[in-house]
């Protein structure tokens, strides 16, 4: 999977930053950053707030979602260790989505000016950022396709594949490394909690997953991926 280096600023031994991303560059500006620690459910930033900088996730799970007072919220992105939040910082704008911690999280805040300076003085850093953006953009474009063409079965499968891709599965317990309610899964898949339940029934019958208490064990991740992949063929 991802190669990682340990984070020096955090007590947790689960605290890493992706080596292939911003680890070293971040060390250079470490004197000018702020560390924030969030509990599960905390809002890291909120739609409409003025951007003051960019966040690096040192460790933890975060969802970026639209706020919608009534009814569904839509998760547009999942992020974890080493990812960045608040992309549009460069354009001196407002945040367009809410970032909410899905687990206890350690993020590192860097002010816009410092960030811009770092980009301009270090082409290496800017280039890495470009790679990050390019990957993220592709992922998001794919999701546009998925959400406009897939049926519910495929969307729910895709949600689990996406969750696995970003957060991974605990090798012992076989569960995702985040705990999510039906509603939260539905918000990622773009449907309702009831539909998620029904799909989980089907997946269980097909031995792709197993439900124990509130937990969902992923028995056959490949099977779920196949549902997504088979869709692609059409």
């Amino acid at each position: 999977m991802r190669s990682r280096i340990e984070c020096k600023d955090c007590a947790s031994n689960k605290c890493f930053v992706k080596q292939n991303c911003f680890g070293e560059s971040l060390a250079n500006i470490s004197s000018k950053k702020n560390d924030n620690f969030n509990k599960k459910g905390d809002v890291i930033f909120r739609e409409g707030n003025t951007m003051r900088g960019i966040y690096f996730i040192m460790h933890g799970a975060v969802k970026v979602a639209t706020s919608s007072p009534i009814g569904r919220e839509q998760v547009v992105r999942l992020a974890s260790d080493g990812d960045i939040l608040g992309h549009r910082v460069l354009g001196n704008d407002k945040y367009y989505f809410n970032a909410i911690a899905l687990s206890d999280t350690h993020v590192c805040f860097v002010e816009t000016s410092v960030f811009k300076e770092t980009c301009l003085s270090s082409p290496e850093f800017a280039y890495r950022l470009l790679l990050f953006y390019a990957l993220e953009l592709r992922r998001t474009e794919l999701r546009v396709k998925y959400h406009s063409q897939m049926n519910i079965r495929e969307k729910v499968a895709e949600a689990f594949v996406y969750l696995n891709e970003i957060f991974g599965i605990d090798p012992d317990k076989k569960t995702l490394n985040v705990e999510l309610s039906r509603k939260e899964i539905a918000d990622i898949a773009g449907t309702t909690p009831e539909q998620v339940t029904r799909q989980l029934n089907d997946f269980e019958e097909e031995k792709l997953i197993l439900r124990t208490k509130r937990d969902i064990q992923i028995l056959n991740a490949e099977g779920l991926e196949n549902i997504v992949r088979n869709y692609k063929i059409n």
Copy 2:
């Protein structure tokens, strides 16, 4: 609107590159680029092809879409003068979508190596690219939200708002600066040609648009934007 500078490499007087984007930097590498001229409907690159470089649109209208042999194709992005195509070039990958000309188009091809070199030697250039990516990413994330939450009426309205944003409206004829079939509009909105027709009926009753022959005149662009904006509130 967008400020632009004239393009030196093309006979057409409609040929521009966005000034706030890559104009000057592009001039620096002009000795190493290739100019391509495409007719409406031409495929600029195709899903699965190996990426050899990146394309700058000097002038013209382009859609980036999924290929799907049976049925719907989904447009994930619209692009015009000064935009770039083939983002993932940096990662030495394959193209994930098809790029198809929606009008006669002049694109400029730059090889990956040249492009990377330019990024690394010119932080200014890389930084501008970052801004471009950040904007594009936000736009795409919004589209994920739209496509998973909007109803047909809103999606079709959003398609026209998006088309207006990227290609603009002819001030005299009041029509979009691209000609699109019902199917093509449907592929952007993520629905079927029949539904597009039905929504156009409604929009015409509400005096938002007017259909003359095959043309669609946008009488009240703001009205269409309001449909999209009012949705956002919920």
